[in-house]
Subunit: 190 residues, 2 copies
């Protein structure tokens, strides 16, 4: 639920929709992402519900900033959600796995192309979580030193990103080796 991510950031400090996107990009995008359009509509709904209020900060040369502030009711809702235990497993949707599962007819070479491309992407992503994300977090702390205790928790979600990518890379390597060894060669015309 995007709304709780937005309320979470607004519990740190007041922010605009555009700024919220920036915070998400460098921190939660690992396990929750959203487009700007959805962020704007969700903020609007939150304001109607009374969970946030907004103030216009006039600007010249570009649209006025709309700064959102969390209300007492919004904080209460956030904490209540936080304390509600999750009773089921997160569900995954991964198109690559669908392509692998049904990939026999597509042929060995097509499959290897897919898998190698993904291997490259996941290696980059792993590097990103290992390096860039860590730096980004440091920069935020320089601007907002009061959030240092939160950063312990932020970092554990970053670790999740690293571990997830490492697992994915391992699986891809194993699967590539299996496909090379086991699947029948393509021998038919295009």
């Amino acid at each position: 639920m995007l709304k709780y991510v937005l309320l979470g950031f607004l519990s740190y400090l007041p922010l605009t929709g555009y700024e919220l996107e920036g915070w998400m990009n460098i921190s939660t995008s690992n396990f929750w992402q959203a487009k700007l359009s959805q962020i704007y509509t969700t903020l609007k709904k939150l304001e109607e519900e009374g969970a946030v209020t907004s103030q216009i900060a006039p600007q010249e040369g570009r649209p006025d900033r709309r700064v959102y502030t969390i209300t007492e009711a919004g904080l209460a809702e956030l904490y209540e959600w936080q304390r509600t235990p999750i009773l089921d497993l997160p569900q995954k949707k991964d198109a690559l796995l669908v392509k692998v599962f049904f990939g026999l007819e597509a042929g060995k070479e097509a499959m290897l192309t897919q898998l190698r491309l993904q291997l490259d992407l996941h290696r980059r992503q792993q590097q990103h979580y290992a390096q860039q994300s860590f730096n980004d977090m440091q920069h935020i702390l320089e601007d907002h030193p009061e959030l240092v205790t939160n950063a312990i928790l932020w970092d554990s979600t970053r670790r999740f990103g690293v571990m997830y990518e490492e697992m994915y890379i391992g699986w891809l390597q194993e699967t590539i080796a299996m496909v090379e060894k086991t699947l029948p060669d393509d021998e038919k015309a295009k």
Copy 2:
């Protein structure tokens, strides 16, 4: 895209909506799941598009079965999708990570409760992929021995499930230890 999962199974043999749910539950639910209602509406759309046809098989005492068969056009669409490379990373959405990220205010004990509950769920799931899923696959092969080559690929997606759960369990253990050691104790009233 659910439609390609359905077309994938129908490329093996004709099936009803209800049966498709069963196949998904024991195989693709690891990386793609769907409710019956969505399966039925998607099959209807696929028939309108001409990717499948359906035949009614009369029954007594319960609704007639509607058996779907893939068409040449449907097969062509499936193969074309299969051969299209994926150029981006799968996106994850995981509410637990949101709760961890913003979990400071919820308190140490609430967080440990969450994490321990998830640890239990993921351990069960890992066992499931390691044992039950493997057996289910064997049973399918007994009924459909012609699918034995496909089963190599099925099994690699099952391996993904096992590896994913192992990674998740490792992260949860690490995170629980970190929370116990690092987070300040709750000392406020409820």
